[in-house]
């Protein structure tokens, strides 16, 4: 459905994207993650045909969106800006885009969408009077009014309250499952990405650092982690010294009154505990830590920084 091959974009001498490649299959929800300035929005703009690549290809349904007007009917876009006109009503905004996309039965579709985003009673109000969250919901309705096959969403739930965020998540999942809509989701919200994306790519400094399913990524970066609590600071420092000399300890960090120990092998958890107890340390509590996507993401980004 979407194919990005060796995509490179330079603005004058500055390289924003460098040889980015990935594929998104039909019906997939693809999360595109990365810190600010990583090149996420540039990738999206290249895919949408708003920018021209310096090298490589960004194809949507086998073609460049910038060249094919008719193909853009299949695309729904929610960018950083809401793309709404503040001086006209919510209804007029939706009606305007519906007309541009040649939507038939506009009245019914607009009414249904206004109901979905719970803004039916405000449909005749000017958008300029709406809160940020209301505008974002209306923008989402605008994005799907023409029933697109592919959605490009840039931080879709930014500025929304938790209830609305849930509504957006459920809507994206439903569109993907029931209508086989392909979704490319740019987001900083790792919890959201973890909940809805089938696959993610992590971009940093213009290059893809990871591209896999959420579970596989967590698995790849999932070195076993054990957290222990000790009785006092003296024991804590002693334990840190002892742990740093062990070959099967990849990393150990002080965390409040405890230590977070990253091991090189899963079966070394009991070994390290026995070792510390054997050295006369009083371990008050120990637990195995499950790593979240956030941990994986931060590890990839930090790894990059430490390599420089």
């Amino acid at each position: 459905m979407i194919e990005v091959q060796n995509l490179t974009k330079k603005f004058k001498e500055r390289t924003v994207l460098n040889g980015v490649s990935f594929k998104v299959m039909e019906g997939e929800i693809f999360g595109y993650l990365g810190p600010n300035g990583a090149g996420k929005t540039t990738t999206m703009r290249l895919l949408l045909g708003l920018l021209k690549s310096t090298d490589g290809k960004a194809l949507v349904m086998g073609q460049n969106l910038g060249d094919t007007k008719h193909l853009r009917k299949n695309i729904g876009v929610l960018l950083e800006y809401d793309g709404l006109y503040e001086r006209i009503s919510a209804y007029d905004n939706l009606n305007y885009y519906a007309q541009l996309y040649g939507v038939s039965g506009r009245e019914k579709k607009i009414a249904r969408l206004m109901e979905l985003i719970e803004l039916s009673d405000r449909k005749n109000d000017k958008v300029g009077e709406f809160s940020k969250g209301m505008k974002r919901k209306l923008a989402l309705a605008r994005t799907i009014i023409h029933e697109p096959r592919i959605l490009f969403l840039d931080e879709p739930s930014a500025g929304l309250d938790p209830e609305s965020q849930k509504m957006v998540r459920e809507l994206i999942l439903r569109l993907s499952k029931e209508e086989k809509i392909t979704v490319v989701l740019n987001s900083h919200d790792l919890d959201e990405v973890q909940r809805i994306c089938s696959r993610i790519a992590i971009l940093n400094k213009g290059e893809i650092r990871a591209n896999d399913t959420v579970d596989n990524l967590r698995g790849k970066f999932n070195l076993p982690v054990v957290e222990i609590s000790l009785s006092d600071n003296k024991e804590l420092n002693e334990a840190l010294n002892l742990l740093s000399s062990l070959s099967y300890v990849s990393d150990c960090q002080q965390h409040n009154n405890g230590i977070v120990i990253t091991l090189t092998e899963t079966n070394k958890a009991s070994t390290v505990l026995s070792y510390l107890v054997g050295q006369g340390l009083k371990i008050e509590e120990s637990k195995r830590v499950t790593r979240s996507l956030e941990d994986v993401y931060l590890e990839i980004v930090r790894q990059e920084e430490s390599n420089e």
Partner: protein, 235 residues
Amino acid sequence: MNSILVIARKEIKELFGNRYTLILGAAFALFFSIIRSLAIIKEMESSIVATSLDSTLFYLSASIGFFMAYISASQIFLREKVNGVIETLLCAPISLRQIWFGKVLGITGFAYMFSLFTVVIILLVSGILSGLFILPGAIVIAHVLLVVPTFIAALTGLIGFAQFLLGMRENRILNFVLFMPAFIALYGIGLSASNSFKIRWEYIAILFISSMLLLAITTYLTKHLSKERIVATIA
């Protein structure tokens, strides 16, 4: 064509939704119409009144139209770049030229209404105050109905093209260096020549052809306007 009309209708609706622009336009049109009407009725001879009325209608309808187009273009072209709405519009199944032309059409329609409003006010005020209702000559009628909208469209097209093409800073400079002085010059020349200036068919023909030419050139230039250029100059 349908998409162009959809855009034009939306722009007119949006401009009418802007109270500030409406009040400014109406105040501007009323002020200059009344001032000029008072000057016209000072003339004693009806033939001079007719000449003065024609020349006033000739330049004021165009000047007010230009002024409103200038104000509206900033509301439409520039504002969409500032708030990033243009990016969403560029993803719709319409060409950049259609977007540009739809906006030009909408702004022209809106600005032209103020030109017509100016004409009506001048005719009414001068007629009521002098007790002498003089209808404008055929040249002025042709000018108001045909040349003025073309003239407004040509200038709107040029302003819109420049606002799409240039960054915010360059646009600000262009406003002060080119468009504001152009408007002041247009009004000033018209004002100074209004009593002695006799309108001829050749003049409106030249203005019409020049406007058409400018519109054609700008339409051609939009072919070279890229989405990348617009996106890269978003504030």
